[in-house]
């Protein structure tokens, strides 16, 4: 069974909670005691219907205020696939939450109310999905029951979205007319919309081809931890543990170790199930090399004919998360990239992006919470990376505050500055 991670975006008004509730319910992933608890709470809150949003809003403050504070993770499975849903709230802290949920997603599911059409929020969500490099996008045009299931209403929204989407890099887009409330095109094909020839949402989620999403071209193996058994029978053993970020590695491959630049040959790969001939993402393995130079955490294994960039200056898109401070020139931060942490300095803020219009605003002094912009950073030691668009594993980083230790930003590398 394959695993598909998807992020949902939209607000309660778009029917998102109803849709997730229905996917969970129809795949039998919601249980009677959960439904009973939700009914009880709905009743206490004076609602005259069972509020399915309560299934996902787990914290006391969320239930009391009727809002979703944080990304919630939900799980369901069909005989074909297991799904992990990162359910991101549409209102508060939307950028931070959506970026978080989107960072691990294979697919983004965006909801639109057919009567309202494409809104600023829809555009924001679509933009963030593409910025975070999510390979698949599904636009669900919801509440079709309220427009008499008419094709014209659907076509209007679809064509509006197509106009906007032309500005974005979307590789795979599906647009599905649904009614989350009545279940049209959610699990089964709707009988009310014979004019729609595509798949139901669940069918699409089960069938969308994700096998080619992983980068199997560029071999990258960041060293995470060195295994050195303190035992006589493993006297000279050094196992280099890590998770394959991209590409594949075979026993016998000649590899290059960065930043030292030495070459070595893979003589053994141990996976979770024992020895392997080949390792590929996202397997966690331990490798042994023929020559053992000084290899340690933070080093990157690659091939001499296919190397990542090594630089101390990077150009990146950054999303700022905290209300307590700003991203501004001369600011010092701690950057975590792959298995490496280092201090860095903000050299320049190039522009801020208005994520509603996609306009670049310059000059700009600083980024505040939930803003996205392009910046140049200088790191205290060389960073071994790829552009985020080519490699989500080796192109991403987070920024941490040295004093509060908080995670204050996330970045996607565009390239070296020089």
């Amino acid at each position: 069974m394959e695993l598909l991670r998807f992020a949902t975006a939209g607000s309660v008004d778009d029917g998102k909670s109803t849709l997730i509730g229905r996917l969970l319910f129809d795949s039998k992933s919601v249980f009677e005691d959960q439904i009973l608890a939700v009914e009880k709470t709905s009743e206490q809150m004076g609602a005259d219907y069972t509020n399915l949003a309560l299934l996902t809003d787990g914290l006391r403050a969320e239930r009391e205020q009727g809002i979703t504070i944080d990304v919630a993770y939900r799980y369901f499975a069909t005989p074909k696939r297991k799904f992990i849903v990162a359910d991101t709230p549409g209102h508060t802290q939307y950028t931070r939450n959506m970026v978080t949920g989107a960072s691990t997603a294979d697919l983004a599911l965006i909801l639109v109310d057919v009567r309202k059409g494409i809104t600023e929020q829809t555009k924001r969500h679509a933009f963030i999905s593409t910025l975070l490099g999510i390979p698949h996008l599904v636009l669900c045009i919801n509440k079709m029951d309220l427009v008499g299931y008419e094709k014209e209403a659907f076509d209007r929204v679809r064509s509006d979205f197509a106009d906007f989407a032309a500005k974005l890099q979307i590789h795979d887009l599906a647009i599905i007319p649904i009614s989350a409330l009545h279940g049209d095109n959610v699990v089964d094909r709707s009988l009310n919309m014979n004019w729609y020839g595509g798949a139901s949402l669940l069918h699409h989620l089960e069938e969308v081809h994700i096998g080619s999403d992983r980068n199997l071209i560029d071999p990258r193996f960041p060293i995470q931890y060195v295994l050195r058994p303190q035992r006589d029978d493993y006297h000279d053993y050094r196992g280099y543990a890590g998770t394959v970020a991209s590409g594949s590695f075979r026993v016998g491959d000649e590899v290059l170790i960065l930043p030292s630049g030495f070459s070595s040959t893979i003589i053994e790969i141990n996976g979770p199930q024992g020895p392997l001939q080949e390792a590929y993402p996202p397997l966690s393995v331990a490798m042994r090399f023929s020559e053992e130079y000084d290899v340690s955490r933070g080093d990157m294994i690659c091939r001499s004919g296919n190397q990542p960039k090594v630089a101390q200056g990077i150009d990146a898109m950054i999303c700022w998360f905290t209300p307590d401070s700003f991203l501004e020139p001369k600011r010092k931060l701690v950057l975590k990239h792959s298995t490496n942490s280092m201090r860095c300095l903000v050299d320049e803020l190039v522009y801020r992006l208005d994520i509603n219009t996609l306009h670049r605003e310059e000059p700009v002094g600083r980024l505040t919470m939930n803003e996205i912009g392009r910046a140049r950073l200088r790191t205290m030691k060389p960073l071994i990376f790829d552009a985020y668009k080519d490699n989500r594993s080796t192109g991403a980083f987070i920024l941490m505050d040295e004093d509060t230790n908080d995670t204050v930003g996330a970045g996607m590398i565009l390239g070296p500055t020089d």
Partner: protein, 300 residues
């Protein structure tokens, strides 16, 4: 070459990655083991993550004194199987030292008390990373839990001020006295755990499987007559049951079941209409936010 990978392999590699990240970045990790299926799966994965080395951290059991004897038997074998140090922190000792007070009533629960024992043991041993087998599908406040979950110097969880967690880049920065709870199997469901137990042939305490037991019914749960005092109007009867979760013997209910092996258990879980906690745990029934409230204080 076929590069397909199953969801269990992805989840296993994810958990291994998280564990290695912790050992690389923290000074004094420990693995909490209740003796239940989730923590045994965690231990099994830990062994793989660091093979051929021995486990680079001790394991710790919070002994309430009210555990099922079968769980204690299984716990006592861990040191030998995994060749590691086992720390037992005892709630009874916390009571004797006057750190906590036993609840009143005929069947006092020690469920809340163990938070103090746990936090004391973390402080005493100066642990900075504490592995737990909690899963996000278990309970709705856990659905918002991070892989790296920050705890302040009082051991408290602040669900509204959690650090955002992106990609697989975990932020474990902390000051002295603060610690992290680490949940490597966050993304697993109950069914994933059982499928993994089956695939890896992991030995579990016998009471997970159907057996004959004397029970009585209270609040819709089947409690073991051997471990809980029944009242005169509660009728004791013998039937085939098994346990879906293993909390303290006085608050954990059994479920009617004839599932004597893993295959049968998986069939049962696929068709059940109750969550494992809803079906079997009195501690989560107190209120809609019972788990959140305990977690804020520093519970598992």
């Amino acid at each position: 070459m076929n590069y397909e990978i199953t969801h269990l392999d992805v989840l296993e590699s994810e958990a291994i990655y998280v564990m290695r990240e912790v050992v690389a970045e923290f000074e004094r990790p420990v693995l909490l083991c209740s003796g239940g299926k989730d923590s045994l799966v965690l231990l099994h994965i830990a062994k793989k993550a660091f093979s051929p080395c021995t486990l680079p951290f001790p394991i710790m059991h919070i002994d309430t004194g009210l555990n099922f004897p079968e769980v204690i038997d299984s716990r006592n074998q861990l040191e030998e199987i995994f060749n590691c140090r086992l720390i037992v922190a005892s709630v009874q000792e916390s009571i004797d030292k006057g750190r906590v007070k036993e609840e009143e009533g005929p069947t006092p629960s020690r469920n809340k008390l163990q938070t103090v024992t746990l936090l004391d043991a973390i402080k005493e041993n100066r642990f900075d990373a504490v592995f737990g087998g909690a899963r996000r599908d278990e309970e709705k406040s856990r659905a918002k839990e991070r892989f790296f979950s920050f705890r302040d110097e009082f051991g408290q969880w602040n669900p509204k001020a959690q650090r955002p967690e992106l990609w697989n880049l975990y932020n474990g920065r902390h000051r002295q006295g603060e610690h992290f709870r680490i949940f490597p199997i966050s993304n697993w469901t109950e069914l994933d755990v059982w499928r993994y137990v089956e695939k890896e042939n992991i030995a579990l305490p016998s009471i997970y499987y159907a057996h004959q037991r004397k029970v009585f019914e209270r609040d819709g749960m089947l409690l073991a007559a051997e471990h809980v005092q029944s009242s005169p109007e509660e009728e004791i009867f013998s039937t085939m049951v098994r346990y879906r979760t293993l909390g303290d013997a006085n608050i954990t209910g059994a479920v009617l079941s004839a599932a004597a092996n893993i295959g049968e258990i998986i069939n049962e879980i696929v068709s059940t209409r109750l969550t494992e906690r809803g079906a079997t745990r009195a501690d989560d029934r107190v209120s809609d936010a019972a788990m959140e409230d305990r977690k804020v204080e520093g519970y598992f």
